[in-house]
Subunit: 338 residues, 2 copies
DNA sequence: TATTGGCACTCGGGAACCGAGAGTGCCAGA
DNA sequence: TCTGGCACTCTCGGTTCCCGAGTGCCAATA
């Protein structure tokens, strides 16, 4: 038995099953793919593949379907790179071009990814910790209330309303503005927080309290881990195309999609800038046993956040990986230049 | 035949059907509700109600289910106000309390609404047109690029990157800042846009071009209708509880939920501050023939945006209406005070 | 006149049944 | 090592059949 033909059979099974969503039999296989051997031979190969746990049959008189392990093998060793068509590239570029806002970029990316892959797309907002502070703006709301706006390099904007223990006047406000900006602007979040913390000690005693409150709020905003949980989900309607059983597949997906923390974990496993794939039960989530995640990090120099798609294990891995990769690159570029 | 008993029967049918999701028969009805009459009598009433088109039977040997018209009647005339429990009120308050951001408020509201009603919740961002400008901030990115940040009273923040036709220096930047703020700050969006438009004519000729570009971008940002389409959806997982047929009910819902424009239309029909209900085919959307929308506007003095829930026609109207109403009030309060 | 018990009738849905067809494993021969 | 042949297995779709819930109608009754 030839080893490479056996692998060709595995590849053919994966491709056919992904395309048709039906168990594929030996006869259909030799007809569709020019394997140059008879169905009986293929059957032998299949038996061997099943022995190795790469494929399985749902019931005795049915064709074979790939197992998680089979998909994994396919992804790691068999899948050929599927370059995007120029039309697709153009679509990506033009789709993301008009974005003038971080929110815009994120929302468009999700949409785009969902459309390209025909699956559920997830995009995480750039993580706070990876940003630098671009500007701190303080706007007086009343004589004792202040709106602090934190503008970050990634385009994120955080705001907080602050109650001030003293009456605001223009001079105090100006002082707050210039000192906070001098400490924070241009710094990475962590450094900015550190620099800000020393501010209250550096000003006149009667202003120390006010500075303390403002600085505390800013620092809190900078280290708010909850806002790192921000993700956007799109293409949920593609769940409908799964054709899969509702109970076993779609319901848990919907539930997981609501749980942003779970999603982040799914994405987060893939925080490098390489495209990573989680297949079926490979993760710790039992309910998602029949779904796979294709994800990657984005960001020009360092990884700012992750994005990816979620779909049934039976999905077009090469296509999804290519799309995820391409979108991540475009997003990285956009964030870098703005 | 007593008219009011007939209506009691209708109410009982609606309540039972909503609770059990199964056609309700005459016998079950007299057992569960103390109607004080025999099943036969109820059957007569049912026949009359069916005659009037308020209920129907899915097939001959089944119980009755309410028609859209029946639900409408129930909502308009029969439903008793269902005040929220104090526990629920407390939950709302504490849930929304910690929000320090418009984004936060919106996201928490969706979640809350979805949780309270066990349905899909939709919250629209406050409309731009209804806001006033709180502050315009301009941050230099490089010597020819500028980040404009528009801070609005509702807490919305819009930003744009602007290419400047001249070199930026601190003095020019200061001039831009003070003039734009003098024109725009405190004004309603429409007025601010108008006031800004005259700016380029008021400055020294060599600055006019720069002012033009900045003003144009600001005005564009203020009148960007696309960003009025912003809505957030939550509780999609509750779709799974419909138990309803997937194809006929859930798929179109998922598709509609992706189409934010459609959602806005659904909400928008209800732009007053009263809770309005759209039942089944009452809207122009054929695919959503078996879903209802309970929505209302929020905002303290005027309506800033809408929020509501979407669910199967067979839903708990009194409960949903109460929840929508309550959440809208809380959101209004929060937006008002911040 | 409104209500009620009785009764025949309808019809959906689940259980049981059955046959066709796809696919397999195995074996003997090339 | 591959292939053709063959007996075997099991799912799936269609059909039939029966049970029971629920109805409509009617005659009797308060």
């Amino acid at each position: 038995m030839q080893e490479d033909r056996k692998l060709a059979v595995l590849r053919a099974i994966v491709e056919d099953y992904v395309a048709t969503q039906e168990p594929v039999g030996s006869k259909a296989l030799v007809e569709r793919h020019r394997l140059g051997v008879s169905p009986a031979t293929v059957r032998n190969d299949m038996a061997a593949l099943e022995e190795e746990g790469l494929i399985a049959q749902p019931h005795t008189s049915a064709g074979r379907i790939p197992t998680d392990k089979g998909y994994r093998f396919f992804v790691d060793r068999l899948s050929r790179l599927k370059p995007l068509s120029t039309a697709e590239r153009r679509a990506i570029a033009s789709f993301l071009e008009g974005a003038h806002d971080l929110d815009d970029v994120v929302r468009r990316s999700v949409r785009l990814l969902a459309q390209l892959t025909q699956q559920v797309a997830i995009v995480q907002y750039p993580q706070l910790a990876k940003s630098t502070v671009r500007h701190v703006e303080l706007v007086a709301l009343s004589s004792t209330r202040l709106l602090a706006v934190l503008i970050l390099s990634t385009g994120r904007v955080e705001q907080r309303v602050i109650e001030i223990p003293a009456d605001l006047d223009d001079e105090l406000l100006g002082d707050l503005r210039s000192r906070t900006n001098r400490s924070a602007a241009g710094q990475r979040i962590a450094d900015a927080a550190a620099a800000l913390s020393t501010l209250p000690d550096e000003v006149a005693p009667e202003r120390s309290a006010t500075f303390s409150v403002v600085v505390a709020t800013l620092v809190e905003a900078m280290s708010d881990h909850r806002s790192d949980e921000r993700v956007v989900v799109g293409g949920t309607a593609n769940l409908a195309r799964f054709g899969d059983s509702f109970e076993s597949s779609i319901r848990p997906m919907l539930e997981a999609l609501e749980e942003h923390v779970v999603l982040l974990k799914l994405l987060g496993e893939a925080s490098s800038s390489q495209v990573t794939v989680r297949i079926g039960r490979e993760g710790p989530y039992d309910q998602l046993s029949s779904t796979s995640v294709v994800a990657t990090g984005y960001g020009a120099d360092e990884v700012l956040g992750s994005l990816g798609v979620v779909g049934p294990t039976r999905m077009d891995y090469p296509g999804s990986m290519a799309a995820v990769h391409a979108v991540a690159r475009y997003v990285s570029d956009i964030l870098d230049e703005s």
